[in-house]
């Protein structure tokens, strides 16, 4: 099987995914992604000449809500899973914005 995913690519995907991969995990990820690419190749064999490109998986359109405030104060519930809370805010590691 030809190798299409370079080490640099898998490192980069790891960075984007915020994942630290060790060597075994990297190898596993490369082989997973190679399999996906092979599957895409398989699909590319299909003749799609007369098929319009699909831009969305659902056939529905125009699903809206009206501009009405329906939610009250749910802060306590929202903060339940927060690892750190201060004055009703979510605490996160030091970040500059």
């Amino acid at each position: 099987m030809k190798k299409r995913i370079s080490n640099e690519t898998i490192e980069y995907i790891g960075i984007l995914s915020k994942l630290e991969l060790d060597e075994t995990e990297k190898e596993q990820a490369v082989s997973d992604i190679e399999m996906m690419l092979d599957f895409f190749d398989k699909m590319s064999e299909l003749d799609t000449e007369d098929v319009a490109p699909m831009s969305h998986p659902m056939a529905n359109n125009n699903v809206f809500r009206e501009d009405v405030v329906t939610n009250g104060d749910m802060r306590e519930d929202m903060l339940k899973n927060a690892p750190m809370v201060l004055d009703g805010m979510f605490g996160v590691p030091k970040t500059f914005g």
Binding site: L16, K18, S55, H56, P57, M58, N60, N61, N62, V63, F64, R65, E66, D67, V68, V69, T70, N71, D73, M74, R75, M78, L79, M84, L86, D87, G88, M89, F90, G91, V92, P93, K94, T95, F96, G97
Partner: protein, 476 residues
Amino acid sequence: MLSKYDVTIGLEVHVELATKSKIFCGCSTAFGAKPNTHTCPVCIGMPGSLPVLNKKVLEYAMAVGLATNCDITRFSKFDRKNYFYPDNPQNYQISQLYMPICRNGFVEINTCAGNKKIGIHEIHMEEDAGKLIHDEITGNSYVDYNRSGVPLIEIVTEPDMSSEVEVVTFLEKLRLIIQYLEASDCKLNEGSMRVDVNLSVKKRGETELGTRTEMKNLNSFKAITRAIENEALRQIKLLEKGEKIQLETRRWDDVKGESYSMRSKEDARDYRYFPEPDIMPIVISNEWINDIKYKQPELRDEKMQRYIREYSIPKYDADIITSIKHMTVIFEKAVELGGNPKKVSNYLMGETMRLLKERNMEAEDISFSPVNLVKLIKLVDEGVINGTTAKEVFEKIFNEDIEPIEYVEKNNLKMQSDESWLQTVIEQVIAANNQSVCDYKNGKERALGFLIGQIMKETKGKANPAVVKKLLLENL
């Protein structure tokens, strides 16, 4: 050195829409609530929550698009823009990349160089992020997601502007259009309108554009003007030294009057846009577009013509009042309450503008009730107070929205025409100002004005000026 270069500017303008609820959930958009009290599983990015598009957001975006001569995209959809930052709880922002709702428009501006069309590349809808607060003491950061999911439109212009004058003229016109549509209050200082400036320079005559920078953190038209002047010069100086411009994002520091680099191309984010599967595509019919056009409120030019026609105020007045949306609201309300249009206009153009300027306030911050202005005009018309007092009372109305009739009564500010009382004051003033009396008798007309001024001062500005003049002349 400057004249050898051309400056090219394009803008990205974010505008917070005036909806009551957020773009994808039923949380309130009201400003200033306690942290995280306007949040729910959708805007806090909980797995499994389902965002649903607020129809009003779409209609505001279409209205702005139509008013800026855009084509409305008949089949539009949302995309996910992926980035990892604590103010963005889903780790992606729901935005529009491939099929934005509006494309290919323009806004015509008029500067001393003549008329010019500034192209609108696109307008797309997206959600705002939360707010990060940094705690110097603990070294931690804290997030308030009340703003997460507040609807935004981003207006992207073509790089059609070549000076800070064109940029500010364009922005003022764009802001006015959006305010007239009531789609946003567009306050730069509060962040409901945010402008990023993309700027590059090139040697005059060269066809290829130079490398651009993006400038952020511009909170007023003045800051935008200064930042553009500063950045154009910075780039020209670098080129003159034979150096290269870095493709980067810079942050403007308005206090220091300079900018610094925030991030460069090397760590440019890879946003990995892909279709947003949770939001269904949008299909816009001709009927819908016509309906939006039909419901469009009166825009500035129409309003100006109507003011001249219906209220018989001069074009000059109509032009100034309609240049600020909030002024038109006050003007129309005051006239509706029976205020004489020209007199209302005088207060708005004169004292109101003066006080705004003096206090460095935006017209949107005006908080007095039109009814109090109308009552004040009536007090003057009926001769209850004189012009000097009216000016003083108006300032009170402007500051604290006091009720003028009661205020005049309580503070004893009524105009005094009582001749015997005035006679006593006049005699005192004459006795204390022998020199001026003498000057007047020797033909110095100006001395009379001085004496009247002294009498007005003695009566705390309450005297009826006509009566004062009459009595004074009799006494001299």
